[in-house]
């Protein structure tokens, strides 16, 4: 029982860190890596909640395919986000 609670606590806080780092990062490749880390945290949370079907889909889609899609987009466009001048 305590292990489920601890996993939920630790990985939900870790996902917050990853989300913040991913959104505020200016290098888009690094942001993609942080986003993959956030996906892994969510996958662990889902597994702790007993949703095994979702974990199978979610790991393949969110860690694998989204990262590949974003890397393709970055390789075809620009790698760095421009600094906002406001």
């Amino acid at each position: 029982m305590i292990i489920t609670i601890l996993i939920l606590l630790a990985f939900s806080l870790l996902s917050l860190v990853f989300v913040y780092m991913a959104i505020t990062e200016r290098d888009l490749l690094k942001a993609t890596a942080f986003s993959a880390g956030q996906s892994i945290c969510y996958a662990v949370i889902l597994q702790a909640m007993g949703a095994a079907d979702i974990v199978m889909t979610y790991v393949a889609v969110s860690v694998g395919l989204y990262s590949a899609l974003l890397i393709f987009v970055i390789s075809k466009t620009e790698r760095f986000e421009e600094v906002s001048s406001r």
């Binding site: 917050l16 913040y20 505020t24 079907d53 199978m56 393949a60 395919l65 393709f72």
Partner: protein, 244 residues
Amino acid sequence: MKRVIILISILAVTLLSSLVISFVAEITVPRSLRDLSKYYIANTIIDTASPESVAAIVWDYRGLDTVYETLVLYLAIVGGLAIFTIKGGFPRGEPMGLTELSRNATKIIVLLIATVSAAIAFHGHLTPGGGFPGGSALAVATMLIIPVYSVNILLEKGITSTKLVAIRGFALTGLGLVALLPVVKGLEIVTNQKFYPGFLNGVVISGSISLYNLLEFLAVASGFTAVALYLSIPEELYKGEVRD
């Protein structure tokens, strides 16, 4: 540095607010399922001959929704491919790629992923899994082949975009047929147990659920493989087209 300070303050605010809320407000955590979910779990074997209640809801209880969602998936990918269509067909080139070591390692890994994805898809009515997870796992394998072996090896092996779109069309037509066939006997659309057999030679096939899983596996895998193929076309080819 400013980022780290903001991050620590956000974490502190989250922890403090949840501490305060959990002490001040009287929260009762849920300890038992809703009646609707209990119904689904209790009756899944009787109604659908599938021990997997999620697959039963996806393809039997709420089957019509999922058929329409497959249509949305088809249209979204077709819309994307329409933007990327180029004159003169798909470009071909010499196979290139990374070193021998990484190629051999990738060969083993791709074989493993393909086997596991097929197992996930074809056991979808018995164990967690199904057409959606299996198809996306197979698409991951092609996404792995493209950077290591270059896209030309896929085209040489006969995995072209035309064939993939044809497989998608076939899978979607099959889904429609499986959903529509019960209407012939005067039953409702997307009927499972009254029309399709639950057991075949003593093997559990859960009626139409295994058929749906197989076809959805083909549709999802070929769709995302087509997306990967079109994304890997070099950008120089498009520059002339945009200027025209």
